[in-house]
């Protein structure tokens, strides 16, 4: 191949690529901003999700101008801008089918498709997880993402064939989903093979729907009239609304009561707060200083979708006394703003080490009393620790203010230093 021929080939390649960018690339990028926002904002945490969402606003503001411009200059009737209104309509159903296909798996294996919606909604609004206030915006964002993926398929591919739909949505998207969710999002959750298989199944259902929609529109829809059209529209509307409706129904009738009973059982665990290390004499100068340790735990529990969580407590206020021979020798207090908790970890890989480390949390309590009180104390001296610990217990959904008490006769573990 001589230099002229190579230059011509390179020129044709660049021209073809530029044509693709103008016809499909820019439109695809604009329509995929809901997916890119979640990737950058929630999975890869490049920017906070609420800021990443600004790109969606900008893209959807730019979209009408770009579509209008391309419609004016485009001579190619296959260019997606000429069919965008139909694609937008077709895309409503595949995104919904992605979720509808997973409803049976909720009853079969306890999989819960709507739990990431809380993350999406909470990241956007700052509302707490596990509440309607995070579920509803999360449901809307999820629907937008599904719509965006289906739009991506219609825009990216010239032919909306079954093989293209299965390869792009059923395999490409599900492979990416199988990677990003366990790696960047499923904190405190196991992702067994079944979870991945259900992910592929749901994407394949979405792919089939994306393939069916143009076929249905061109072949079946023109033959429908009157009642048949109304019935078809009602069926499609029901499919679109089912994911959100089902999630709200199950959240109200099953998830919230289940989570509340799990929280109550965790709050009522026996021995949640106990003395771990008895008092020891730390130092004697102008005052005598003692220390003992309370142990809080076991903290770990599984919430309604088997996500590992720690029982949180904040703030923790401990007061108490040490007494010897019936007289108080020291007064004790400590304050902990917040206990270390894996619940605030956002990276799945960092969760388990923190979770294992915090099954029991030690709370050191400092005591102070007159030096004269320690004069006749030594290792093994009988002392009584009387303590109370006030805190707000924080479960997955519930909070409860609690006060724990203890009166433990014990022996001083170290004498005068």
């Amino acid at each position: 191949m001589d230099a002229t021929c190579m230059r011509r080939t390179a020129g044709q390649l660049v021209s073809s690529l530029w044509g693709w960018v103008l016809e499909r690339g820019i439109l695809y990028a604009l329509l995929e901003t809901p997916v890119l926002a979640i990737m950058g904002g929630i999975f890869y945490r490049v920017v906070p999700y609420r800021y990443a969402l600004i790109t969606i606003l900008l893209a959807f503001m730019a979209l009408p101008f770009w579509v209008s411009y391309r419609r004016q200059v485009s001579m190619n009737r296959d260019e997606p801008v000429h069919h965008l209104h139909r694609y937008a309509l077709y895309s409503l159903l595949p995104g919904a089918m992605f979720t509808v296909a997973r409803i049976p798996t909720h009853f079969l294996w306890g999989l819960i498709y709507w739990h990431p919606w809380y993350d999406f909604g909470a990241e956007l609004t700052g509302a707490p997880l596990g509440q309607y206030s995070s579920l509803f915006p999360g449901a809307l964002l999820n629907a937008l993402q599904g719509w965006s993926i289906a739009m991506g398929f219609y825009v990216l591919f010239r032919r909306h064939s079954l093989i293209n739909a299965v390869l792009y949505i059923g395999i490409y998207d599900s492979s990416l989903y199988s990677y990003v969710f366990p790696t960047y999002s499923r904190v405190g959750l196991q992702s067994p093979p079944l979870w991945h298989a259900v992910d592929v199944w749901a994407h394949v259902a979405m792919a089939f729907t994306a393939w069916v929609m143009p076929v249905f529109h061109s072949r079946a829809w023109p033959r429908f009239a009157g009642v048949a059209r109304a019935a078809a529209v009602a069926l499609m509307a029901a499919i679109v609304l089912t994911p959100t409706g089902f999630a709200f129904w199950r959240a109200t009738t099953w998830q919230f009561p289940t989570d509340e009973s799990i929280d109550q059982a965790t709050f009522n665990r026996p021995g949640l707060m106990a003395v771990k290390d008895g008092p020891s004499l730390q130092a004697v100068d102008l005052d005598a200083r003692y220390k003992f340790t309370l142990r809080f735990g076991p903290r770990g529990f599984n919430n309604y979708f088997r996500q590992a969580r720690d029982l949180d407590a904040a703030p923790v206020r401990v007061t108490g006394t040490l007494s010897h021979d019936g007289r108080i020798i020291a007064w004790c207090s400590t304050y902990v703003e917040r206990l270390e908790s894996p619940n605030r970890v956002t990276a799945p890989q960092q969760f388990w080490p923190v979770f294992r480390r915090t099954q029991f949390t030690d709370i050191p309590v400092q005591c102070m009393g007159p030096a004269s009180g320690a004069a006749d104390l030594g290792a093994g001296s009988e002392v009584t620790v009387q303590w109370s610990a006030q805190m707000t217990l924080i479960g997955d959904r519930e909070r409860q203010t609690r006060e724990f008490f203890g009166r433990d006769p014990t022996q001083l573990s170290a004498g005068r230093p």
Binding site: L167, I171, Y172, Y184, P193, L194, H196, A197, Q349
Partner: protein, 90 residues
């Protein structure tokens, strides 16, 4: 190696293959669509998966993406080689 590696890869291979069976009858792919599939898969790997592979190595989840990508490229190429061309000459 993660003990869940092979069960996950095995099950995903099975599900992917089952999903592909109905597509066997698909016609010859448009060259532009084939190029899209063959390009988008490795580009996504480099942007979205490779940074994680550098940090945590190849695990069952990155291997799942690689498996999917391998199937996409293989099927796209096989479709071009094996399926008859359409009347439009694609």
């Amino acid at each position: 190696m993660d003990p869940g590696f092979w069960p996950q890869i095995g099950l995903l291979t099975l599900v992917f293959v089952l999903a592909l069976i109905p597509t066997l009858a698909s016609r010859h792919m448009e060259p532009a669509d084939r190029t899209t599939l063959i390009v988008i898969t490795p580009v996504t790997f480099v942007i979205a998966v490779l940074p994680g592979v550098f940090v945590w190595g190849i695990n069952k989840d990155s291997a799942s993406y690689i498996l999917g990508g391998f199937l996409i490229v293989t099927v796209a190429i096989l479709n071009t080689r094996l399926q008859p061309r359409t009347l439009t000459g694609d």
